[in-house]
Symmetry: C2
Subunit: 249 residues, 2 copies
Amino acid sequence: MMRTGFQRVARLIHHKALPRTPHLLPRLHQASAFGSSTDSLVARFCPEKTDLKDYALPNASWSPDMLSLYQEFLEKTKSGRWIKLPSFKSNREHIQGFKLPSGLVAASDKQDWRIFTRCIQLEGQGYEYVIFFNPSEKKSVCLFQPGPYLEGPPGFAHGGSLAAMMDETFSKTAYLAGEGLFTLSLNVRFKNLIPVGSLAVLDIQVEKIEDQKLYMSCIAQSRDKQTVYAKSSGVFLQLQLEEESSEQQ
Amino acid sequence: MMRTGFQRVARLIHHKALPRTPHLLPRLHQASAFGSSTDSLVARFCPEKTDLKDYALPNASWSPDMLSLYQEFLEKTKSGRWIKLPSFKSNREHIQGFKLPSGLVAASDKQDWRIFTRCIQLEGQGYEYVIFFNPSEKKSVCLFQPGPYLEGPPGFAHGGSLAAMMDETFSKTAYLAGEGLFTLSLNVRFKNLIPVGSLAVLDIQVEKIEDQKLYMSCIAQSRDKQTVYAKSSGVFLQLQLEEESSEQQ
């Protein structure tokens, strides 16, 4: 079950057997594979009307710093240059009507699925974050406030919680900027610890899209940019989701 | 508050101003700084008698694969070559009587602190894992079973959840093998997705200890080693914890 789809594609890419040979990807037609416009991807990802709970909205746990920067970016969305991304409980809700490429289907059951960065639903205890995306400049900003359930060294956020936040922000950016679907690599250089409860601002930029891969960079720092928490890079594999109805494919 | 201790040391190291100049680390005396034996570190970390709850024990959510491999490693602990590490709710409990180096003190309050990889206490829903450590060979094995709250792509573990699990296993290994205290870098190359509920086995090895840094590698794969999920490397900074009583320092 696992040895098709992403695995085969990713393996080929990893082993550099497929630098520029799209014929080895039988399910993808290079000319049309990544033809979805950012507009249509955003429309799919950010439904205007939905009953789904959006977890990327202010709550009582947000610090004044987090809240005021959120308001600043919300103001910027009015011009249309920036978009506030909704954040549902599971990626299943973000891609309703679509599914992973053929072969990438895990056993399904009636579990209570949650996207990792929304695994803790107690306000302020775990991940508090909101992502803003700028389609024309292919960049994102994530406002991240780690709670006490994300602890590593006493009083500070776990390095892994920041790495996961970076991966998640890369993931959403990669998808909207060019159908980036799976992380191929994530490299993080940690500079300073983030005190629990304080605000880290993650600036993500798509650096290039080449050979079916999106290359991104991230810097996480304090709002005043005086303290760099970490820098990272991420590479994502472009793959198209399939429509749910195309079961026979 | 944040611009001392780890930050200064890490910054100097990052900027390569301090390749081999221990005099720039006034609080550390190179000759004695990392003199704690692995035995004494293990004794500190794994109290023989404690009332603290150990989360690294089998529960009803563990798969037969996870359970049988756990039993195999538990058997190996009898020879003394392998040690099963306990896993408490917070790192605060692992380092009782000690604190982070001077200057690295975050605002403290009466919050419900949890180490990130124990943030979800519902059995089977989040992180299920146990780490075994081999002191003489400076290596570890982590048995990791991601639950449905760790989802990324529908049905599969979030890449960030695996990155965090790697960081956490590196962290415990680095501390016990040589007082590695803070992640300086974490590089992950993802190969295949981990289906939620299945077992990933992480093999960690300390590759070298040099210039106050521990270099480690990790491979995460299925139990039968037929599927590699990811490979990673991690670099940790060696720093000594301070005794709680030495407030005046």
